[in-house]
Amino acid sequence: MPEITGYAFPNDIHVHWSLMIVMYPYITGFVAGAFIVSALFHVFGREEFRPVARLAMATSLCFMAVATLPLNLHLGHPERSWLVMVTPNLSSAMAGFGMLYSTYLLILVLEVWFVWRQQIIESARRSRGWKRTFYAMLALGTYDTSPEAIAIDHRAATILAAIGLPGACMLHGYVGFIFGAIKANPWWSSPLMPVIFLLSAAVSGIALLTILYQVVAKLNRRVIEGRTVAALARWLWFFLILTVTLELLEIIMLAYEKSESWHIISQLLTTRLEFSFITIQMVVGSLIPFILLGVVVLMDRYLHDRVRNTLCIASSILLLLQVFSMRWNIVIGGQLLSKSFRGLRSPYSPEIFGREGILVAIALLIMPFVLLWLFNRVLPIFGDDKPHAAGGHEPPPVTAPVAGVHAG
């Protein structure tokens, strides 16, 4: 039985939204954040993001594939989850999830198809037996790799990325909306919530790719492009500043307005969330990366490549922690305070085993990377990134093991 300080409504003492509901926005955050990175290249033509563009898109897809799992693990009746799609209650923010998720998934899959199509065809031409059948089916039976067809692919990818970007923003902004539109809960109810979720999604996505790019490049023995890392750092710093500013503004507004809920929220922040909010989210997760990234952004030219990359990895890890603690503080924090505004519940600690436990959460975080590895086996991520359209400078050496050799 949880302990109560003050008075909580008798039904208000349970944390119904558990660790899985913390994982859910964390994972969809990566979906949106990674897509934003790929869009920086595909839509906005930022050449420095070319080396991560395909990695970002594949990452987005792999996280997308597991995004519904934490939700289903949380539901009391996962076997009925299809009702969300079949009989969606149109006034429910949560029912919107089904539609937004499917639309975005569709766009993402289409874009991946167009971006990787040439490689699918090459793989189909090179392979034999069932493998050939598989790739031929993926290619939908047309093996057109003429310059005109490729041009169409690029065009389609750009258009899809342009549609996908608002799609990704909606998908994640909507997650914030789920919390922000609950007027019963003063710690959630805020129009800033979708914006904060979206910006922190960008932070987590860019941070993840900063790490992933360097790790994958190392594993594939490829050069880590200095300007790519530096560009990621710049954007990371920018989104970090935006996110933390809004996160703080929201609280400062509550305090300055002396809103009726401030009394209980200030207690929440200084007692129950003291460690996870003040220490982790604000100091370790925000202030330190802000300084580290500031060094990278402002003094880049004095930094040795290795120093810069290490600084970026370090701050990215801290930022991944920051975003997780932000999700935790919102989702769990909101349930520690009673809607009576008079009481706080004792802190919630998730179970270790069990459906909504820590082990499952860790498995959920590992799964996208396993998928990414599988994805790379089927559709090599670094197989072909020779410049197109905008015409970059360096056609990097093709070293990935299964990479596409340009067959006739």
Partner: protein
């Protein structure tokens, strides 16, 4: 911008659509044919989308017999509840009655009683087990000048935040003004529990579905009072029908100075309070 709009343009192909069913067979035919197939599918798909959407959207208001058969017509009632806090003695009979009537699981309540002890030096609120076993005397750090009990329950709001957020339509408000949960559709997401500002809902640990006060819908549709009203020894709780002009509850709501809980949230509760103190939220 030369390629993307292409499939759309092709829908203007002059051929009429009736051959559409033959579509599946043709695969590597000439592009012109494929254009046509695309068009046919666009049209067919659109029609299906429309039809599928309509059957659910068209609320058959035309003439569907009300649920419940001849015995009870939900269009002839609109229920409301009045709680006179000045009469409550905090015995908890209502909480026990509700539990017995509705098999409320241990640790949860569909109705509960709060005690407020208030003085210039502070305030103290409690509700041990929701008031199930009554209340003990408590020492307070300040000198109380007033103290009182406030029974609480689902307010059966007209503008329900809980029904609004239910993703599958498992929560709904009946025509006679009762907010119910369909236990066979509820997916147990808990969104309604979060959305209720009054803390009236909970997830039943046995059924894993959302549960709440139903105003004893199985009783009121048989002409009985809700169990909590039935067992209240002091007349604190009253239940009535707003469609009956001489109903005492309607009289009270129409003529007395009543309040509702958390009026600023505009949920339009249908539980009305008499003598409510400002300490109560």
């Amino acid at each position: 911008m030369d390629h993307a709009p292409r499939p759309l343009a092709s829908t203007r192909s002059p051929s009429p659509p009736p051959e559409a069913p033959a579509a599946g067979a043709a695969t590597p035919a000439d592009p012109g044919r494929r254009d046509f197939l695309g068009a046919a599918f666009t049209i067919a798909g659109g029609a299906v989308v429309l039809l599928a959407g309509l059957d659910a959207a068209a609320s058959g208001e035309t003439h569907v017999p009300p649920p419940g058969g001849d015995a009870y017509n939900w269009e002839e009632h609109r229920w409301a509840y009045v709680i006179d806090t000045s009469k409550c003695i905090g015995c908890g009979s209502c909480v026990r009655g509700c539990k017995a009537e509705n098999d409320v699981p241990d640790g949860f309540v569909r109705t509960w009683v709060e005690r407020y002890i208030v003085g210039p030096g502070g305030s103290y609120v409690d509700s041990p087990k929701g008031g199930l076993d009554g209340f003990p005397p408590v020492p307070t750090a300040f000198t109380p000048t007033k103290s009182f009990f406030v029974p609480k329950m689902c307010n059966h709001c007209k503008e329900t935040p809980c029904v609004q957020v239910c993703p599958v339509g498992a929560s709904y408000r009946t025509k006679d003004g009762v907010v119910l949960v369909d236990g066979k559709s509820c997916i147990g997401c808990g969104y309604c529990v979060q959305a209720c500002p009054y803390g009236s809902r909970f997830l039943n640990p046995a059924t894993h579905t959302a549960e709440k006060c139903t105003w004893c819908y199985h009783r009121i549709t048989k002409g009985l009072k809700p169990a909590c009203v039935e067992v209240c020894p002091t007349g604190t709780r009253a239940f009535g029908d707003m469609m009956r002009e001489d109903d005492p509850v309607r009289q009270t709501i129409d003529h007395e100075r009543v309040s509702i809980l958390q009026a600023h949230l505009l949920t339009e509760p249908q539980c009305f309070y008499l003598h409510l103190d400002m300490e109560v939220r």
